[in-house]
């Protein structure tokens, strides 16, 4: 499943970039996500709880960052394993930060999400809705946090 989004934030490019490469802040902006342990400079252990009504899916796994400071491009690979045979989730997300003005920044995100298991079997449509929604929430938090 591919997700492509582009949005602008009323904040300087530097602060947007700092936000995007800070695992703790990114996790805080994603409902259900948490970082539990730092493995090395670029790799963290974490968890993701997705709750949709009565439906609950919990993933634990690792997040690895690969940063290109010069291009302001961050590549994140998150791999999680679901509890109780729920299957796996594997996301590669590349975000790019482009300065549009002193307090105007464009962020483009291309994500490739691969989910396996029962959720992907029964709820492919639902997953698309949920990931779109989560992405929207993330950008809202980002905009709010960085708002002048």
């Amino acid at each position: 499943m591919k997700i492509q989004e582009k949005f602008t934030v009323d904040a300087p490019a530097d602060s947007v970039w700092e936000f995007l490469i800070d695992p703790e802040r990114v996790a805080a902006a994603l409902p259900g996500a948490q970082i539990t342990e730092k493995l090395d400079d670029n790799t963290y252990k974490g968890g993701m709880a997705v709750n949709v009504g009565p439906l609950a899916a919990n993933y634990t796994g690792t997040v690895a960052f690969d940063l290109d400071e010069e291009q302001r491009a961050a590549s994140v690979r998150a791999r999680g394993q679901g509890k109780a045979g729920m299957g796996n989730a594997d996301m590669t997300m590349t975000s790019r930060v482009v300065e549009l003005g002193p307090a105007k920044t464009e962020v483009t995100v291309a994500a490739n999400l691969s989910v396996t298991g029962i959720l992907a079997q029964l709820g492919r449509g639902m997953m698309q809705h949920v990931s779109k929604r989560m992405f929207k929430q993330f950008t809202e938090v980002l905009a709010r946090e960085l708002a002048p």
Partner: protein
């Protein structure tokens, strides 16, 4: 020899061939007294439930059973490593490929068995499954069979020595050079690419077993949902012989089966895990699949990607056929096909038409899908062959501007040409294709429908008429060609008449709803003149039934049915000797009317078959072996070739693309008919299982290997509302080589219905430039075709190719 159109030879009391005898098995099924696998329990019985892979391809990093084992009632968790210790972690498929029972390091498809949890109840076992933690390192699965053949595709079966790519085998039939030459010189060539999609038998009962190993005697009894108990026992002995389970210590019992359709022929890992668990724990272990396991892990059917071409003259006379096929077998070639026929009987693809030459080839590949594929209500790839031919013949008719029925009639093999030798090597036993076509056209009112269609088209309404004139090949088969794992595909019957004139007949086949208890009794009644009500039929217990290869591919009547006839005839011959003895005449002086020997010219001097049976135990002629029992192992001299013409009328909703089957007439010719009621029922069921893949059913996967039709939410089995009121008729062209002139019927309708329906939909849209629709024809596909209607500039949207919608110039 009875003829269904003629009066039955036997009285209603005897109820031999041609009587619509009510089924002997019905009272127990109607009163909740059937005995299906999940109805079995044994003292101390444990439950197996299976941990399955959520991913399609990847390495197993770790299996942690500790939390599962803490659950009250969970006794053990079996993994591939545990089975490896016994050398039981791999098993052969019926097609001489190999597959894992449980993996030791790699999973190859979603829902693959990963570990078995043994517990004291269904509920505890399910909790145990949820508590086993398996860590995987996922790899990118190969889901597209075409990509599986590309150079950069990973080699999936690294376990197989010498396997350097994902090819399994290449098969071909016919004279390629001669066929190509005809194509080069032909007036007209038409071509369609088509996919007969991956589907599932979806019998309402899932699979399961109850394995009961007696550690004291070293004896194993397995009650299991199998269509082929004897073959399964042999396979089990081959798999587990080295741990002491030799064939005489294994008893396989196939109880009442809630639908098989080919899906209950293979050995699934669950059976083997249950057996292993019973052996390890020394207790009976039951395993019953749930529906999602059944749909996601058990053998699929079909999945043939075909590129078909027909060469013809300008008038539409077919000259040659050429088909190139890619077969997606998933992780392993687990077909249940005869050994020498890796592509099954696909070479029946020249069908009902007389042509000069043909060439067909099939390449089989591995992908990360469950292994298969089974002959789902189909005599080994006949469905694929018939769909391909019957669809492209319509394309030809369209191209040369002929009515599809007319084009078929002009190409039929004439009835005087039988026995007919097809270009791909079959000897068709008998046929009268025009008779079936005439009857179907008359029943449905073909000419009036064409007028109605023309009027509706004027008004912009979409109505289509689809024709299919198929020829099947059944009854595998003659031992010179047909075997499974080396075992010849004969079948068997054993008939014993008791002193009081009642009989038991045992067969090597296994009914799954076909009504063998009734039809076999009628066969014995026909031959011996005993009332069918007095003939008890038994199948499915390897300790009592004679060895046979089982029930699938419509082979029961052609093989075991024939064996029953031959065994009964042996008894009749013996009875004649006894009758001569009792009546004190010579055998030549006796007349036989079903049930009675009488003295020629003195009909009041007679004895009944029951008298003879009593005498066989009480008053024998000198030197005669006592008893009234005979066995026959029947090796058919040829296959049988049933045929028929189906005509279907559909209406299409212009706005949504929804297809409604308004009428469907099926005229079948399956030779002489044993029980017309049962034959009609078989056709109704087969038609519905043809309707499913034509309009609704398909097993698909996303790019990550997730099954997208893994429950009845998405695997769309037709209900009574979608299913039309089938109309059936028949013609009778007896098989010259079957002792009853019967041909077998269980599968014709599954084979013939999909192209009839697809042809009707294409016919409804043909004026818009549509030449082909992939099945299942979901509303969106029809709508996609409609969308381009009226498009200016010569472009219309056609639904073609392998599943896709593409714009094509018309």
């Amino acid at each position: 020899m009875a003829d269904a159109t003629a009066k039955p030879r036997t009285s209603a009391k005897i109820c031999g061939m041609g009587h619509s005898m009510k089924r002997k098995e019905d009272p127990r099924f109607l009163q909740g007294k059937g005995n299906y696998i999940d109805d079995h329990t044994l003292p101390g019985m444990l439950w197996l439930d299976i941990v399955r892979s959520p991913i399609a391809y990847g390495k197993i990093v770790n299996i942690d059973s500790s939390k599962a084992l803490e659950i009250d009632g969970v006794l053990a968790v079996l993994t591939g490593k545990d089975l490896e210790a016994y050398g039981l972690h791999w098993m052969p498929t019926l097609m001489s490929d190999t597959q894992m029972v449980l993996p030791t390091d790699t999973v190859m498809y979603q829902a693959q068995e990963v570990a078995g949890v043994i517990a004291t109840s269904r509920y505890a076992a399910a909790d145990g499954v949820a508590a086993v933690e398996v860590e995987y390192e996922a790899m990118t699965p190969v889901m597209d069979p075409f990509k599986a053949l590309e150079d950069d595709a990973p080699v999936l079966r690294t376990d197989k020595e010498g396997q350097e790519d994902n090819r399994i085998w290449h098969w071909e039939a016919g004279d390629k050079e001669a066929t190509d030459k005809i194509f080069d010189e032909a007036d007209v060539v038409v071509r369609e690419k088509m996919h007969v999609p991956r589907i599932h038998v979806a019998s309402i009962e899932t699979c399961g077993c109850l394995a009961d190993f007696n550690p004291v005697e070293g004896h194993l009894t397995v009650y299991m949902t199998t269509q082929a108990p004897h073959a399964i026992r042999t396979v089990l002995a081959l798999v587990a012989g080295h741990v002491g389970l030799s064939e005489e210590k294994i008893r396989v019992v196939s109880p009442d089966i809630g639908g098989g359709f080919g899906g209950k022929v293979p050995v699934y890992p669950g059976y083997v895990i249950a057996i292993a668990a019973s052996v390890v724990l020394g207790k009976p272990v039951k395993w019953i699949e749930d529906r999602m396991e059944n749909l996601q892990a058990d053998s699929f059917a079909r999945d043939y990607h075909m590129d078909a071409e027909v060469a013809a003259d300008a008038g539409g006379k077919i000259k040659a056929l050429r088909i190139k096929t890619l077969a997606d077998h998933g992780y392993a070639d687990a077909q249940a096909a005869p050994s020498k026929f890796p592509a099954g009987l696909f070479s029946i693809c020249t069908g009902s038409y007389d042509m000069e030459n043909a060439y067909a080839e099939v390449d089989a590949v591995y992908t990360n899908k469950p292994p298969g594929g089974v002959a789902y209500r189909c005599s080994f790839r006949v469905t694929e062959a018939v769909h391909c031919l019957e669809r492209i013949v319509d394309t030809l008719a369209h191209k040369v501007g002929k009515d599809p029925a007319t084009l078929r009639e002009e190409n039929f093999i004439p009835k005087e040409a039988f026995p007919y030798h097809s270009p791909l090597g079959w000897e068709y036993d008998s046929g009268d294709y025009q008779a079936a076509m005439d009857k179907a056209k008359e029943m449905i009112g073909y000419d009036d429908l064409r007028k109605e269609q023309a009027e509706k088209r004027e008004r912009g309404e979409l109505m289509g008429i689809g024709v299919c004139s198929f020829t099947e090949v059944l009854g595998a088969g003659p031992s010179k060609d047909f075997d499974i794992l080396g075992i010849k595909m004969f079948d068997s019957a054993e008939v014993r008449v008791h002193p009081t004139g009642k009989a038991i007949a045992r067969f090597g086949t296994k009914s799954q709803g076909q009504g063998h208890e009734t039809t076999y009794a009628q066969i014995i009644a026909e031959e011996l003149g005993l009332p069918a009500a007095h003939v008890q039929v038994e199948e499915g217990d390897t300790d009592t039934a004679p060895y046979g290869l089982g029930t699938y591919a419509s082979r029961s009547t052609p093989t075991a049915g024939a064996a029953g006839v031959m065994a009964a005839r042996k008894l009749r011959d013996k009875a004649r000797k006894i009758a001569a003895h009792l009546l004190e005449v010579s055998e030549e002086d006796l007349d036989w009317e079903p049930g009675t020997f009488s003295v020629k010219g003195a009909p009041d001097k007679s004895v009944t078959i029951q008298d003879c049976a009593f005498a066989a135990y009480t008053n024998l002629p000198e030197g005669m072996e006592p008893g009234m029992e005979a066995t026959n192992y029947y090796d058919p001299p040829n296959l049988t070739f049933p045929f028929g013409t189906y005509i279907c009328v559909v209406d299409i909703d212009r706005g949504t693309g929804e297809v409604t089957v308004r009428r469907f007439v099926a005229v079948d010719d399956c030779g002489n008919i044993i029980n017309p009621m049962i034959v009609q029922g078989q056709i109704h069921g087969g038609l519905t299982q043809g309707l499913g893949p034509a309009l609704y059913e398909e097993m698909t996967y996303d790019e990550d290997g997730n099954n997208q039709a893994g429950s009845f939410m998405d695997y769309l089995v037709p209900t009574a509302v979608e299913t039309p009121a089938w109309e059936t008729g028949h013609t009778v062209t007896p098989s010259p080589h079957h002792p009853l002139g019967a041909k077998g019927v269980g599968e014709s309708a599954t084979v013939g219905a999909p192209p009839a329906i697809a042809n009707a939909v294409v016919d409804a849209l043909a004026h818009l430039g549509v030449t082909h629709m992939e099945i299942p024809i979901r509303p969106e596909r029809g709508w996609g075709a409609l969308r381009g209607e009226g498009g200016e500039g010569g472009w219309v949207v056609s639904v073609m190719g392998w599943g896709g919608v593409r714009a094509s110039q018309w």
